[in-house]
């Protein structure tokens, strides 16, 4: 069959789809990934074929707009403790009075709406020429349902982690409120969750995301991008190995105060552990001279490193969360923002890790949390149990059979 993947401009959201793309290709199906030009190299480097027919969307800007609007309207929960940032530049602001959101929206609304319409038209045009049997899309790109409806084929939403499609908490609802006029033009009457019939769920059963759609569970297979592991990282050291990862996008959303790596490095400097820091070179430069027990590791997919790690400390992204689950590694979440906090809380509820509040975090709290994860064996036991739950899910190879049946109906 021909399967059209359609992905947003936010790479971490569609990385989990890559192993399903492999599964389909390995079964002899054709897969094409409809995307924006700025995603071509990522899709290309994952062994999949990009179809770059979409104009780029600045997802970070839209995320900042959403957060700013919520702050201005008083809808942001106070306990998130987040600063307000300039939606256009990402610069931290003293308050919502410092940016004219309405004025800004007046300038971009028209052009952006027209762009979204053109993106939908391009997807419909491609689907009509290429005739996919199935569409699989990233939740941040719900518009992908339109070409599926126009050509009369099923559309399946591929989730990224513990956040689902029936969420009421602030910042966890990725279903858009506004829809392009192109929906009417193409005869699509459904809106919101009415557009979502099936979801692919990659979480272990204990963390299943809430949804009203038909759930297609699958085992998460870690794919973290290209890279390889140097020999030293493949060897388990004598001391416990603490892997540290940090999202590249956080500081674009919440300002430089949300880069907590210095506090993490500080927290661990006097412990008898080896810290492996997987931040990119730019971020590493800002850290200054590193303590003796810290090693930098670039261009290594975190999945490879976690095979020899005892704890993962990270900012709460779903990819990091599930990669640690897949490896049975206990994790410490230092979270900024609602989505990452939710990931952390949901994982912590299973006993496989701890979540701490990012804003204002101090080294002592981090140190105590890491020591707890190292010294209390229950965390590793629960992490092992979660991993077993994940292994119990059908593999992407098995999901391929389910999708074949769905497309054949």
């Amino acid at each position: 069959m021909r399967v059209m993947f359609a992905v947003s401009d936010y790479l971490p959201h569609y990385f989990p789809m890559v192993p399903l793309g492999w599964a389909l290709q390995a079964a002899g199906h054709e897969v094409r990934v409809v995307c924006a030009a700025d995603q071509v190299s990522h899709v290309d480097s994952a062994g999949l074929t990009p179809v770059p027919i979409l104009e780029d969307v600045d997802m970070l800007m839209w995320a900042r707009i959403g957060h700013f609007a919520a702050a201005r309207d008083g809808r942001v929960p106070a306990d998130l403790d987040l600063p307000v940032v300039n939606p256009r530049t990402g610069e931290v602001l003293a308050g919502v009075e410092d940016f004219d959101l309405d004025g800004f929206m007046k300038t971009i609304r028209g052009p952006e709406a027209a762009k979204m319409g053109r993106r939908i038209d391009a997807m419909v045009d491609f689907a009509q020429r290429w005739s996919p049997d199935l569409v699989v899309y990233d939740l941040l790109h719900l518009d992908s349902v339109v070409p599926a409806k126009v050509t009369g084929v099923p559309a399946v939403c591929h989730l990224t982690g513990p956040v689902g499609t029936r969420e009421t908490g602030y910042g966890l609802n990725f279903i858009p409120e506004h829809y392009s006029r192109a929906y009417d033009k193409h005869g699509v009457v459904e809106r919101g969750t009415g557009l979502i019939s099936h979801v692919i769920d990659i979480c272990p059963a204990s963390m299943a995301p809430p949804t009203d759609a038909v759930r297609l569970p699958v085992r998460y297979i870690p794919y973290n991008g290209p890279g390889s592991m140097p020999a030293w990282a493949a060897r388990k050291p004598r001391r416990p190995r603490i892997a540290v990862m940090w999202s590249n996008t956080l500081s674009h959303l919440y300002g430089p105060g949300s880069f907590a790596v210095p506090a993490i490095v500080d927290a661990l400097r006097d412990l008898d552990v080896e810290v492996v820091l997987t931040v990119n070179a730019e971020a590493a430069k800002t850290l200054g001279p590193l303590p003796q027990n810290v090693r930098l590791l670039e261009h290594c997919p975190v999945h490879l490193l976690l095979a020899t790690a005892d704890v993962l400390v990270h900012s709460g992204g779903a990819g990091a969360t599930l990669t640690a689950v897949a490896n049975g590694v206990p994790q410490l979440f230092v979270t900024f923002g609602a989505e990452y906090r939710a990931n952390g809380r949901r994982l912590a509820a299973t006993g496989a890790g701890l979540q701490v509040h990012g804003p204002g975090i101090d080294a002592e709290t981090i140190r105590k949390s890491v020591l707890t994860l190292l010294e209390d064996p229950s965390y590793r036991d629960h992490a092992g149990r979660l991993r077993a739950e994940l292994l119990d899910r059908p593999s992407p190879a098995a999901l391929t059979g389910v999708l074949e049946e769905l497309a054949a109906r």
Binding site: V18, P19, L20, W22, A23, Q25, A26, A27, G28, R32, V40, D44, S45, A46, G47, L48, T49, P50, V51, P52, I53, F126, R129, W130, R219, I221, Y223, P226, G227, S228, A231, A234, R235, P301, L304, L391, S395, P396, A397, T400
Partner: protein, 404 residues
């Protein structure tokens, strides 16, 4: 299970194994690809994980093998010989002193062997593979299987296998890798027991091993799907594809695209060049019916084409077979000639010796492929045979049993 793939330095040998690598990952197994640092970026782009510990040697080794064959009077390409180290054309074979070079190399051999075995042992002890899948022409996979005492499965990259009568088609490491004897394989690596064969049923090459039939799923490297592929066409479209590895081994005169362009200029055909932009400069201004396209994987392009012209490389031949596209091989090397001949026997293609064919011959061959329906019919039949073979996903269970 943990499956270690091993490949020689050519993407043409790596790519046919990639869909099986995906199949194993998709079934939840761990996969690593042992390769040279030179091949690691290509491995990365497939989505698989490279272990870049081998030395890059492919180009030198290929040139050296060609030189030795030329010295033995077996060199048939019609091109001047290429200096194994510098890559420049030689006016005479005497310009390279192979004997001194080989004597010097012998002193380094023991050191090389120790170092190589050290690398392979580190992989075995550190990662503990349960199974090895190796390109047929690669020796490292067989050494790893021997050191780890696990099964090894050879993967064909095209239309040649391990029991060829014609020694010009013998690409086993026993025949082409000077280091083979040094490993003294006696256990799991001593002989090839299993061969994964992705060729169409009618073209299966001879093997002494147990043949594991596989559907060829084309993977041709990176590139986007170009829009024109889906457009209706008002005249036949011919795609010209030319890999760059051949030029490195056989020299600049083996780049035949300018002659192909000249041969097809003015014909009532749409000709698309799917080649590296860096290579285009040498062609000069393009005729009206010839266009250069941005890089796109061959299997994606062929959907919008009626015939393909290539240099006989296995990847191009196999991709055209899977796509059901009639093909012309303008071959350079012995293997490429052999591929072209084998495809021609199946009825879906023609083969000419690239350097010695003239423009009218090339033109006539392409016209036949486009005008005579027998080629398309045979191509369709062979593509059907391919589709009837088990997809890589269906081999996973078999490999699990082997490794158990």
């Amino acid at each position: 299970m943990r499956v270690l793939f091993t490949s020689v330095d050519w993407t043409g040998h790596l790519y046919p194994m990639v869909p099986l690598g995906w199949a194993l990952r998709a079934a939840g197994h761990e996969v690593r690809v042992l390769c040279s640092a030179g091949l690691a970026p290509a491995v990365n782009r497939t989505g698989l994980t490279p272990v870049p510990l081998l030395e890059t040697s492919g180009v030198f080794q290929a040139r050296m093998n060609n030189y030795l064959r030329a010295r033995a009077g077996n060199h048939r390409t019609g091109l001047p010989p290429i200096h194994p180290v510098t890559g420049r054309e030689m006016a005479s074979l005497d310009e390279f002193d192979a004997d001194t070079f080989t004597a010097d190399a012998a002193r380094l051999r023991q050191r090389w062997l120790r170092q190589r075995l050290g690398v392979l042992r580190e992989v075995v002890n550190g990662w503990r593979p349960d199974l090895v899948v190796h390109d047929l022409s690669n020796v490292d996979g067989r050494v790893v299987a021997e050191l780890a005492d696990v099964p090894a499965v050879a993967h064909l990259w095209g239309l040649v296998a391990d029991a060829e009568d014609d020694d010009r088609m013998d690409y086993r490491p026993e025949a082409i890798d000077a280091s083979f004897g040094m490993f003294e394989l006696r256990g799991r690596g001593a002989k090839v027991e299993y061969v994964i064969d992705p060729t169409p049923d009618s073209l299966e090459p001879p093997t002494r091993a147990t043949r594991l039939r596989e559907r060829f799923v084309p993977y041709n490297g990176t590139g986007s799907m170009a829009g024109w592929v889906l457009e209706a066409r008002d005249r036949p479209r011919v795609c010209v594809v030319w890999g760059t590895s051949v030029t490195k081994v056989y020299g600049p005169r083996s780049f035949l695209v300018p002659r192909i362009v000249a041969a097809l200029a003015g014909l009532p055909l749409d000709v698309v060049l799917a080649i590296d932009p860096g290579d285009v400069a040498g062609i000069g201004p393009l005729p009206e019916n010839v266009r250069l396209l941005p890089r796109s994987p061959l299997h994606v392009l062929l959907r919008g084409c009626d015939a393909v012209v290539h240099n006989g490389a296995a990847g191009s031949a196999m991709t055209a077979l899977a796509a059901g596209t009639p093909q012309l091989a303008l071959s350079i090397s012995d293997e490429q000639a052999g591929n072209g001949v084998r495809v021609a026997r199946g009825g879906s293609g023609l083969q000419l010796s690239g350097p010695t064919s003239d423009l009218p011959e090339i033109r006539a061959a392409v016209q036949r492929l486009v005008e005579e329906p027998a080629f398309a019919a045979a191509a369709g039949r062979l593509a059907g045979e391919n589709r009837g073979r088990p997809a890589p996903a269906r081999l996973v269970g078999l490999l699990e049993k082997l490794a158990a």
